[in-house]
């Protein structure tokens, strides 16, 4: 059984005649410890898959099972302890009125975990900040630091799986590599499984061993890193995408 199993996932927004099908029949399987990429242009539905998995998209059909817990039928707290999400824009994903330390501690407090203060410091150090950053507000940090904090918050419940929604696209190019390397390091240290969404093939090829290409709500092709580097894709759309990123 795979760590992430998504079968026949369809997601739609709106109701009645205004209803729009955003994702159609997507199948994804990611093994434990793997990093799986999801690429495609804007509006291809790749972020929606992550949101559906986390229960942030209103209507979806199909089956999502992560770390052995069913996203629909499984107990919600247990599911959230297994999988967490990092959002795209670190300027919008940290509460402006919460201190950094409070933001990281909040998930642990909600789940009544022990040793909240110590673990907050451990997490801050794990992402390359210091204990003193606990008492900073988000607006006192740079974009890269904020995204690190968002990653620390996602790790606060010690999940097995991280869903990463364009984790670096809102950051400067020089900072992107830092954050990606941090993510790689955390995956190796903690045995995490990543499902990472990006429109940037360079990011995916830096991080992932396998990827799926999405177009207009459908997964058109799944391929490995070798095919990506050699450009030996089966679909014309994928070849265009690879050529465009060169």
């Amino acid at each position: 059984m795979s760590e992430i199993e998504i079968e026949g996932l369809s997601v739609s927004y709106g109701e009645g005649r205004g209803q729009r099908q955003v994702v159609q029949g997507a199948d994804i399987a990611v093994e434990k410890g793997e990093c799986f990429g999801l690429v495609g242009e804007s509006g291809s539905g790749k972020s929606t898959i992550l949101r559906a998995a986390m229960g942030l998209a209103p209507q979806w059909q199909g089956r999502i099972e992560i770390a052995g817990v069913d996203a629909r039928k499984g107990p919600r707290p247990a599911f959230l302890r297994k999988v967490q999400m990092v959002f795209q824009d670190p300027y919008a994903s940290l509460h402006p009125r919460l201190l950094i330390g409070e933001a990281i501690a909040e998930p642990m407090r909600v789940n009544r975990l022990p040793r909240v203060a110590e673990r907050t410091v451990e997490l801050l150090e794990a992402i390359g900040l210091t204990a003193a950053h606990r008492y900073r507000y988000p607006h006192e940090l740079s974009g890269g630091q904020r995204q690190r904090v968002a990653i620390a918050r996602a790790l606060a419940l010690d999940p097995e799986v991280l869903l990463l929604d364009e984790p670096t696209s809102a950051l400067d190019v020089s900072i992107q590599a830092e954050v990606l390397n941090l993510l790689n390091k955390l995956r190796a240290e903690r045995g995490l499984t990543y499902l990472i969404v990006s429109h940037d093939l360079a990011v995916i090829s830096h991080m992932c061993s396998r990827l799926a290409v999405m177009k207009e709500g459908r997964i058109v092709e799944t391929l490995g890193r070798e095919e990506l580097t050699t450009g030996a894709a089966a679909e014309a759309y994928t070849r265009d995408l690879i050529a465009a990123s060169r």
């Binding site: 942030l56 909600v110 900073r136 607006h139």
Partner: protein, 296 residues
């Protein structure tokens, strides 16, 4: 013990740093400082009224009726020979009491209704907002009048009547703020921690509403003072011999042409205080309005 004390001091430090940053920005607004000064003046007058007063606010002195402003009566005396300066000082207590009572009742009610309405949406939103609309549809002073007529005149009843008319705008405001943040990623993030709606609302949504609420409250203080004075003027607010400013104007109305100071002095006090709160509100809005705030 010391382990828990140290981090608390630091979190406090972070908040104090924010506060002093805010204070520095506020100091750059001269009109805001004038407003703040007037507000402080009102509070100080209310606290120290017995020491600042030159006469007894209630004791009549028929020898000194309707004396123009001068050395004995700084702002003149009224038709019972009472010192208007002293009565205005004591009146500031009544004004502050009404304003505080209205704010501390109407703002929480409005915040609660608005946040619940905005966060849950659907039929809860529809029901709560239609109730709000009913209250908003009636002119404020009229509604307050009707309630005072039912409850009977008096300061507390006047304040409660104003509360009944003052909460709907807060509900609308809190709802709008809630709608703006309820799907923000930082709220989604706390949802993904498994937090209950109550916790999300109380700890994460409400703090986002407070700054615009604060601005609105400051502006409304001016309006509340005017309505309270209006109720006092028509005899439904504070009752004689209480030195309520509106009631004082009402008693001076009869001789407004010959003894202008009886009505003009409390009128000036009302004018000054509502101007002060308006200036203060303006300054706070410049600093706190989320629509004008730069992205940090």
């Amino acid at each position: 013990m010391s382990e828990t004390a140290a981090p608390r001091a630091s979190a406090l430090q972070a908040r104090l740093a924010e506060l002093s940053r805010f204070a520095r920005a506020f100091r750059r607004n001269p009109l805001g400082m004038v407003g703040l000064f007037i507000g402080l003046l009102l509070i100080l007058a209310a606290i120290f009224a017995p020491w600042l007063a030159t006469h007894d606010p209630y004791a009549p002195d028929f020898g000194g009726r309707l004396t123009p402003p001068g050395a004995e009566y700084w702002l003149g005396s009224d038709e019972l020979g009472r010192d208007i300066y002293t009565r205005i000082l004591y009146g500031s207590r009544i004004t502050l009491f009404i304003v505080a009572l209205v704010i501390f009742t109407s703002a929480p009610i409005g915040l609660f209704m608005g946040v619940i309405s905005g966060y849950f949406g659907g039929w809860i939103d529809a029901v709560l907002m239609r109730i709000t609309d009913v209250f908003l549809a009636v002119p404020k002073l009229l509604l307050a009048l009707a309630f005072v007529a039912v409850l009977g005149p008096g300061i507390v009843n006047a304040a409660l009547a104003i509360t009944l008319t003052a909460w709907p705008p807060y509900a609308r405001l809190a709802r709008a703020e809630t709608l703006a943040v309820r799907n923000a990623d930082y709220i989604n993030a706390i949802r993904l921690a498994g937090a209950s709606p109550i916790r999300i609302i109380a700890r994460h949504v409400v703090p986002m509403c407070t700054s615009s609420m604060l601005v609105r409250v400051t502006f409304d203080m001016a309006g509340i003072i005017l309505i309270a004075a209006g109720l006092g003027f028509i005899g439904l607010g504070a009752q004689p011999p209480l030195p309520e400013w509106g009631a004082m104007i009402a008693s001076g109305r009869r001789f407004i042409f010959d003894q202008w100071w009886v009505a003009a002095m409390p009128g000036a006090a009302i004018f000054l205080v509502s101007l002060g709160f308006n200036l203060l509100g303006d300054a706070l809005r410049d600093l706190l309005d989320p629509h004008a705030v730069r992205r940090t």
